[in-house]
C-alpha cells in the first residue's frame, strides 16, 4: 500500500485525469466485451442459423424430355412429373446434405430395358444432378438411354426452414436421447448429491480420523478427464472384468456405467459446494435444538438440512448440468444407450451432417440453460445464514457415529482411488487379460492413433497458455465491472456475457466455433486449426467459474480503496497493480490452476477444433479408446492425472511462498 503515498505529483486538473481514466476503463470493458461477443455470442448465433439451414430437392429446377420413338416431347419440369404420380409414390423432398433422388423414381412407366431415350438439364443456376457420381452443374441438355438413365440422381438445393427440427422430432432414435439424457442426469444427480452430502457431513460434523486425507482424495476426480472412469469401469465390470459378477448379469455398457462414472467425476464439484454450505452452520441453533430435546434425527431435518439447502440445490444443478453435457464418458461406456452430447458427435463426425448436429446442440442447450436459470433464480433468494454473532459448530467425539462416518468415507475413498489404480494397472500390463506381464509398450503412443507424446506436449502448452491468458483476461474483466463507476449499460451487458458460458455445453461451443471460424468469409478464419482457437475456446468454456472467483475476491475489498485512490489523483492502473492484484493474489492463483487443470482434461469443445498439428492428450485418450486401444488410452489418461497433480503441487508451493510475502497483512 506504500505505493499509494507516492502520488503527490500534480499533473493538470483532476477532472481531465479522471476523464482519461474513465475512457480507459470504458475502452477496456469494451475490448473484453468484444472478446466475449466474438468468442461466444457470434459463434452461437451462427450455429443457431445453421440449424435452420435445410436441404430440399427443388424439382422445378430440372427439365426432362422423353423420346418414346416419336421424337422428343416438350420439356417438362420434374415437379410437373412428380405431380402426376400417385400420392403413395410421391418422393420425400426434405433431405440432408447427402440427399440424392433417383430421377427414374419420378417416371411412372420406367423400364431400363425399353428403347425410350431421355434428356435432362438443369433449368436454373445452382441446380446439380449426378450421372453416377459425376457432377453436372451446367445448363446443357444431357441425353441418356433407359439403361444409363437409371444412374441419374438429382441433388438438393440449400434453403431455410424448420425441416431439420421436424426430421429430428420424427426420428425416434434421436428423440429417445432427450429422455435418456435427462434420466441419466437426474439419477446421477441424486446419487452424487447424497454421497457428497454424506461425505461433507462426515468431515464437518464428526471427529473421525484422517479428515485431511479424505478431503484430498475427494478432490482427485477433478484432475482426470471424465472418460477415464469409463475406461476403469470397463476393466472392472466389462466382459473380462474381475468384478463382473457384482452386476448380476447386467452390462456395464449403458446407463449403469454412465451413472457410476458420472458419480465419480461430479463428486468433487458437489462435495466442494456442500462443504461450503455446511461450514457456515450456526452452533447456537444446534444447542437450542438440543435444549428443546429434539432427537438427532429431528435436529438433522430441522437445523442441518435447512441451513445447507441452498448449497444442496446449487450442487444438484451443477451436477445435473455436468452430466447432461458430458460427452467423454457416455462415448466410452454408453454402448447402445444414446445421449444428446454423443448424438452431436455422431451426426458431425460420423455422418458429416452438420445441420443435424446444430439441431441437437440447440436441443441440448435447453436443459442446460434451464438448469442454470433456475439455479440463479433460487440463489438470488438466499439470505445470509451467518451473522456476526454466529458460533462455528465444533463437533464432539462420539465413537459410534465417528466410526460409521469413517467407514462411509473410506468406502468412497476406495472407490475413487480404485478407479485410478485400475487404470494405472491396465496401462502397465502387456495384453489384458491374457498376458499380465509388466510392460511399458502402452506408453509407446506412436504405435497408436491420437498424436502420441506430441499431443501430450501440446496439451501442456495449451493448458499453460489458457492459464496465463485466461487469468489475465478474466481478472481484468472482473475488476473493471466490479470496481469502476459509470457506463452502466456496458457493465450489465458484460455481466450477462460473463455468466453465459456456464450454460453452454462444451460440445455446443465447439460446433459453434466450426461454423463461425471455418467460414472463409470470416476475417478471423485464419485462427481455424491453430493453437489460438483451442486456447480461445477453453478460456471461454471455463470463463464463468473463473469470473465468479475473481468477483468474490474483489467484493472482499472495500470500495474505499477506489475513493482514496481517486482523491489522491492516482490512475486506475496504479491502484490495480499496486494494491488490488497483490491483495487478490490467492484468488488469481486459484483461477490459473482451475483453468490449467480444466484445459488438461477437457474434451468436449476441443474435439471439434483440434488440427493435426494441435492434437491434445485428452482427445488422444478419446481417439485411442475409440480405435480400441484401451490400455494406451488409460496410460495417457493417467499421464494427464500426474501432470495435474504436479501442477497442483507447484501451485501450492507458489501460493505458500507468495502468501507469506503478500498476505502478511491478513495475519497481523
Amino acid at each position: 500500500m506504500a505505493s499509494l503515498g507516492l502520488g503527490g505529483r500534480r499533473v493538470g486538473p483532476a477532472r481531465v485525469r479522471l476523464d482519461r481514466d474513465a475512457w480507459m476503463v470504458r475502452a477496456f470493458i469494451l475490448v473484453i466485451a468484444v472478446y466475449l461477443v466474438v468468442a461466444l455470442a457470434l459463434p452461437l448465433y451462427t450455429m443457431l442459423s445453421k440449424s435452420f439451414s435445410t436441404y430440399r430437392f427443388d424439382l422445378a429446377t430440372f427439365e426432362l424430355q422423353i423420346d418414346r420413338g416419336e421424337g422428343w416431347s416438350a420439356p417438362t419440369t420434374l415437379a410437373t412429373l412428380a405431380e402426376g404420380l400417385p400420392s403413395t409414390a410421391a418422393p420425400a423432398l426434405d433431405t440432408n446434405h447427402d440427399g440424392r433422388l433417383s430421377v427414374v423414381s419420378l417416371v411412372a412407366d420406367f423400364s431400363f430395358r425399353s428403347p425410350t431415350r431421355y434428356r435432362l438439364r438443369n433449368a436454373a443456376d445452382g441446380a446439380v444432378f449426378l450421372i453416377g457420381s459425376e457432377r453436372i452443374a451446367d445448363r446443357d441438355w444431357h441425353e441418356f438411354s433407359s439403361n444409363e438413365f437409371r444412374r441419374v440422381v438429382v441433388r438438393p438445393a440449400v434453403s431455410r426452414g424448420v425441416d431439420n427440427y421436424l426430421t429430428y422430432f420424427t426420428t425416434p432414435s434421436l428423440v429417445q436421447s432427450i429422455e435418456n439424457s435427462v434420466r441419466i442426469a437426474v439419477i446421477s444427480t441424486i446419487v452424487t448429491v447424497v454421497l457428497a452430502f454424506g461425505f461433507a457431513y462426515a468431515l464437518a460434523r464428526t471427529c473421525m480420523p484422517f479428515k485431511g486425507a479424505f478431503r484430498l482424495v475427494a478432490l482427485i476426480p477433478i484432475l482426470v478427464p471424465s472418460l477415464l472412469p469409463g475406461i476403469a469401469l470397463i476393466y472392472l465390470f466389462g466382459n473380462q472384468g474381475f468384478l463382473k459378477e457384482l452386476l448380476l448379469g447386467h452390462t456395464i455398457y449403458g446407463p449403469i456405467g454412465i451413472v457410476i462414472g458420472s458419480v465419480f467425476f461430479t463428486f468433487p464439484h458437489a462435495f466442494i459446494i456442500i462443504s461450503t454450505a455446511l461450514a457456515i452452520s450456526d452452533s447456537r441453533l444446534h444447542e437450542a435444538a438440543v435444549s428443546l430435546r429434539a432427537s438427532p434425527w429431528r435436529r438433522f431435518w430441522t437445523v442441518t438440512i435447512p441451513a445447507a439447502r441452498y448449497g444442496l440445490i446449487s450442487a444438484a444443478f451443477v451436477v445435473f448440468t455436468l452430466v447432461i453435457t458430458d460427452f467423454g464418458l457416455p462415448k466410452v461406456i454408453g454402448g447402445q444407450f444414446n445421449v444428446l452430447a454423443v448424438d452431436i458427435y455422431k451426426q458431425v463426425i460420423g455422418q458429416q451432417n452438420f445441420e443435424m448436429g446444430a439441431v441437437v446442440s440447440v436441443i441440448l442447450l435447453v436443459p442446460a440453460v434451464l438448469a442454470f436459470a433456475v439455479d440463479r433464480a433460487i440463489q438470488r433468494r438466499q439470505v445470509a445464514g451467518l451473522s456476526a454473532r454466529s458460533v462455528p459448530f465444533e463437533p464432539k467425539p462420539r465413537a459410534r457415529s465417528d466410526w460409521t462416518a469413517f467407514g462411509f468415507c473410506l468406502a468412497v475413498a476406495v472407490f475413487i482411488v480404485g478407479i485410478l489404480a485400475v487404470c494405472q494397472f491396465a496401462a502397465l500390463v502387456k495384453l489384458w487379460p491374457y498376458d499380465l506381464s509388466p510392460s511399458l509398450q502402452n506408453y509407446d503412443f506412436d504405435r497408436t492413433d491420437g498424436g502420441g507424446w506430441e499431443a501430450y506436449g501440446n496439451s501442456i502448452r495449451m493448458a499453460l497458455y489458457t492459464a496465463l491468458i485466461g487469468t489475465g483476461v478474466v481478472f481484468l474483466g472482473a475488476y473493471l465491472v466490479e470496481k469502476t463507476q459509470g457506463f452502466q449499460t456496458g457493465r450489465t451487458l458484460f455481466q450477462f456475457l460473463a455468466m453465459m458460458p456456464m450454460a453452454i455445453p462444451g460440445m455446443v461451443l465447439g460446433l459453434a466455433y466450426i461454423f463461425f471460424f471455418n467460414d472463409p468469409a470470416n476475417p478471423l478464419n485464419f485462427l481455424y486449426g491453430t493453437m489460438t482457437i483451442l486456447v480461445l475456446s477453453t478460456v471461454t468454456h471455463f470463463y464463468t467459474v473463473a469470473h465468479l472467483t475473481a468477483v468474490t475476491a474483489l467484493k472482499q475489498m472495500d470500495h474505499e480503496f477506489e475513493s482514496v485512490s481517486a482523491s489522491l489523483k492516482q490512475p486506475v492502473w496504479r491502484l490495480f497493480a499496486g494494491v488490488t492484484v497483490p491483495v487478490c493474489l490467492p484468488a488469481i492463483l486459484d483461477i490459473s490452476i482451475y483453468l490449467f487443470v480444466n484445459a488438461m482434461t477437457t474434451v468436449s469443445a476441443v474435439v471439434f477444433l483440434y488440427s493435426p498439428t494441435t492434437k491434445l492428450a485428452s482427445v488422444a485418450v478419446l481417439n485411442m479408446d475409440d480405435a480400441g486401444d484401451v490400455a494406451p488410452a488409460a496410460a495417457m489418461g493417467m499421464m494427464i492425472f500426474y501432470t495435474n497433480v504436479a501442477a497442483r503441487v507447484v501451485h501450492l508451493a507458489i501460493t505458500r511462498g507468495l502468501l507469506t510475502r503478500t498476505q502478511a497483512w491478513r495475519y497481523r
Partner: protein, 343 residues
C-alpha cells in the same frame, strides 16, 4: 523429424545451387490428407522421397470419418492438395461435390480396372483393398463352448446371442461397408431380414471399425465384425484371434488417391499421384494389404487368410454412395431406436 528434414533439404538445395551454378532448386510442399494407419505414414513418405526428393509431404492424418468431414467442411476453401489413402466411397462423395481434379496418372492402364474411377479422365485411382472379416477369439469361445462361424448366416444362430460386436454404419466406414455388402449379397429384402436376425445377437455397435476386432482380441467380445487387416495385426500382436472370411463373400472398400480441385501445386500433385500407382508403390502397400491395385504384385501377408481375393464381392460403389442416405436412415430406424435403457 520435420526440422531434420528441413535441414537436409536446405543442405541439398545449397549443394544443388553450387553444382548447377545458380539454378534454384525449388522444393514443393504438398499438404496430403490421409486415413492411412499412423505407423505406415513415415514409410510411405520415405519411399516416395527416395524417387522425388524435391516434393515434401505434409501429412494430415485422421480416421476416415474425420478426414471426410474435414474435407467437406473445407469445400469452399480447400486446404489439401492431394488425398492419398482415403476410402473410395468417401472420394465418390467428394467427386459428386465437384471437389476432385480429374486426372489420368501415367500408367493408369496397367491397374486392375476395378481400382480406377469409371469417369474419363478418372477422378481417383485405387491403391489397395481392405476387406470385411470376422475376428474370432478362440480362448473365450473355448470357455463358452462356441464353434467358429464360417458364414455370415452362422452369426444369426442363437448360441452367439450377445457375443457379437459390429461397427455402427452411421459412424464407421467399415460398418457401412458391411451393411451395403449384405444388401448386395442377399438382395434388399433378404439383406434387411438378415440384419434383423443379426441384431438379436449383437451386444454392441461401436463407433469405429477396428474396435470390434480389438475387443475380440482382448476378450471383451467373442466375435468382432471388422476388417481382415486389423485381425492380422491383432494376431501378430499375440491376441488369441482367428480371422475368418465368411463363405458367402465379403464386402470391401479401397484406399484411393485423388487431386483436390483448385490446388495451386498441380504439377507436384500430378507427380505424386503418378508415383502412387507405380509398381513400387503397390509393393509398398502390399506390406499390410493383401490385395493391391497393380495386378501380379501382391504377395501373401502374414496372418492374413488366403482366400480373400476370390471372396470379394463385385462391389457397386456408385450404388452404395447414391443410396447411402437411404440405407443409413433405414438402419437407424430399425436398430438405433431399439437401443433403449434397460435400467
Amino acid at each position: 523429424m520435420s526440422l531434420r528434414g528441413l535441414k537436409s533439404t536446405v543442405a541439398a538445395g545449397a549443394f544443388a545451387l553450387a553444382a548447377f551454378g545458380g539454378v534454384a532448386y525449388a522444393e514443393t510442399t504438398l499438404t496430403v490428407y490421409t486415413a492411412v494407419e499412423a505407423e505406415d505414414l513415415k514409410r510411405y513418405a520415405e519411399t516416395f522421397n527416395a524417387d522425388h526428393p524435391d516434393i515434401k509431404i505434409n501429412w494430415v492424418r485422421d480416421s476416415t470419418g474425420v478426414v471426410t468431414a474435414k474435407l467437406l467442411a473445407e469445400k469452399n476453401n480447400p486446404q489439401a492438395d492431394v488425398v492419398w489413402g482415403l476410402a473410395a466411397t468417401s472420394l465418390l462423395l467428394l467427386k459428386s461435390e465437384g471437389m476432385l481434379e480429374p486426372y489420368a496418372p501415367k500408367g493408369v492402364e496397367k491397374l486392375d480396372k476395378n481400382f480406377v474411377d469409371k469417369s474419363t479422365p478418372p477422378a481417383w485411382t485405387g491403391m489397395d483393398a481392405w476387406v470385411a472379416a470376422i475376428c474370432f477369439n478362440t480362448v473365450e469361445a473355448g470357455k463358452a463352448g462356441l464353434k467358429a462361424p464360417t458364414s455370415w448366416k452362422d452369426l444369426t444362430k442363437p448360441e452367439y446371442k450377445g457375443k457379437i460386436v459390429m461397427p455402427n454404419p452411421n459412424s464407421s466406414g467399415t460398418g457401412f461397408l458391411d451393411v451395403s455388402s449384405w444388401l448386395q449379397l442377399f438382395g434388399e429384402a433378404e439383406g434387411w431380414k438378415y440384419m434383423d436376425a443379426l441384431h438379436e445377437n449383437i451386444a454392441a455397435y461401436t463407433h469405429s471399425g477396428s474396435k470390434p476386432c480389438k475387443m475380440a482380441g482382448s476378450g471383451e467380445t467373442v466375435i468382432g465384425i471388422s476388417f481382415a487387416f486389423r485381425g492380422a495385426k491383432e494376431k501378430a500382436g499375440g491376441a488369441p484371434v482367428e480371422v475368418i472370411i465368411p463363405s458367402e463373400g465379403i464386402g470391401w472398400d479401397m484406399e484411393a488417391t485423388a487431386i483436390i480441385a483448385g490446388t495451386s501445386k498441380l504439377d507436384a500433385a500430378k507427380t505424386l499421384v503418378d508415383w502412387t500407382i507405380t509398381k513400387k508403390a503397390n509393393e509398398m502397400y502390399n506390406t499390410g494389404y493383401a490385395v493391391v491395385a497393380y495386378p501380379g504384385v501382391a504377395k501373401p501377408v502374414p496372418h492374413f487368410p488366403p482366400n480373400v481375393v476370390e471372396k470379394m464381392i463385385p462391389n457397386d460403389f456408385e450404388w452404395a454412395a447414391n443410396n447411402r442416405k437411404t440405407i443409413l436412415e433405414e438402419w437407424q430406424k430399425r436398430y438405433d431406436s431399439k437401443s433403449e435403457a434397460k435400467s
